[in-house]
């Protein structure tokens, strides 16, 4: 059985810096032998959560960070688990209604995509700030 792999990153909460998290996910999943759709979809889902953090949690602030913890697990089955932590404002799920897909719109696709492309997407706010947990079976 392949070993579990874990990687941790701390990046500035900017649109360009979150690309480092995308790249780490691609590397980890490629090493784990995931297919191209899984690699793309998990990268996109995590990227959408990260840009949501930059845009909303840290809206107007340029001193924020995002701590990412990426883990490929083997038991009970092969999966990738991603934790994204920030210290910005709490997320309000009511603020993002599901997009009307029959009418093109200029926003609102981000978290819809994250939810659609993952098996699990959880959000919680605690004493250390915001925590997003993403999970996708491989």
């Amino acid at each position: 059985m392949a070993a579990e792999r874990t990687q941790e990153l701390l990046v500035p909460a900017t649109f360009s810096a979150v690309r480092a998290i995308d790249a780490a996910i691609v590397d980890l999943l490629t090493q784990a032998g995931a297919d191209e759709f899984t690699v793309y979809n998990v990268q996109l889902a995590a990227h959408e959560v990260c840009t949501n953090i930059v845009e909303h949690a840290y809206a107007g602030r340029d001193d924020g960070t995002i701590a990412a913890r990426l883990r490929v697990t083997q038991a009970p089955h092969s999966a990738i688990e991603i934790e994204l932590r920030d210290q910005g404002q709490p997320f309000d799920p009511q603020s993002v209604p599901a997009p009307e897909l029959d009418q093109p719109q200029e926003g609102g696709y981000g978290l819809f995509l994250a939810q659609a492309l993952l098996d699990e997407l959880h959000y919680q706010h605690d004493a250390q700030g915001n925590l997003w947990r993403l999970r996708k079976r491989l």
């Binding site: 759709f37 690699v39 996109l44 093109p104 819809f112």
Partner: protein, 109 residues
């Protein structure tokens, strides 16, 4: 008498990922083209390896502007299958005409 009807179409073919970091610049460039009188656009996504929801928002912005000005926007499918599937998932392939090549997109005008 010979008549010629020429439709001006601007073809834009990004060569890199489109995400929140560079989407505002792309939006501005497209809207500047629209301000300059362009109404018909082909956005060739064939060489785009990755596009996020910010990139998709740019496509919708220019579509709305083009249609408001009496024109339209046609897309060329990304070569990356996973990126194509996202355009299916968000029903962008129903909102836009999407073709396999820029030449095919031009013929739709």
């Amino acid at each position: 008498m010979i008549r010629e009807h020429v439709v001006r179409v601007v073809i834009v073919a990004p060569q890199e990922r489109i995400d929140a970091a560079n989407a505002p610049e792309m939006r501005q460039q497209l809207l500047e083209l629209a301000d300059g009188g362009a109404t018909n656009f082909v956005i060739d996504l064939s060489e785009v390896p990755f596009m996020d929801s910010s990139g998709m928002a740019v496509l919708v912005s220019i579509l709305k502007r083009a249609r408001q000005d009496g024109g339209d926007v046609k897309l060329v499918w990304p070569r990356v299958d996973a990126a194509r599937r996202i355009l299916n998932l968000t029903k962008f392939d129903r909102v836009f005409d999407v073709t396999d090549t820029a030449e095919a997109a031009l013929k739709l005008f």
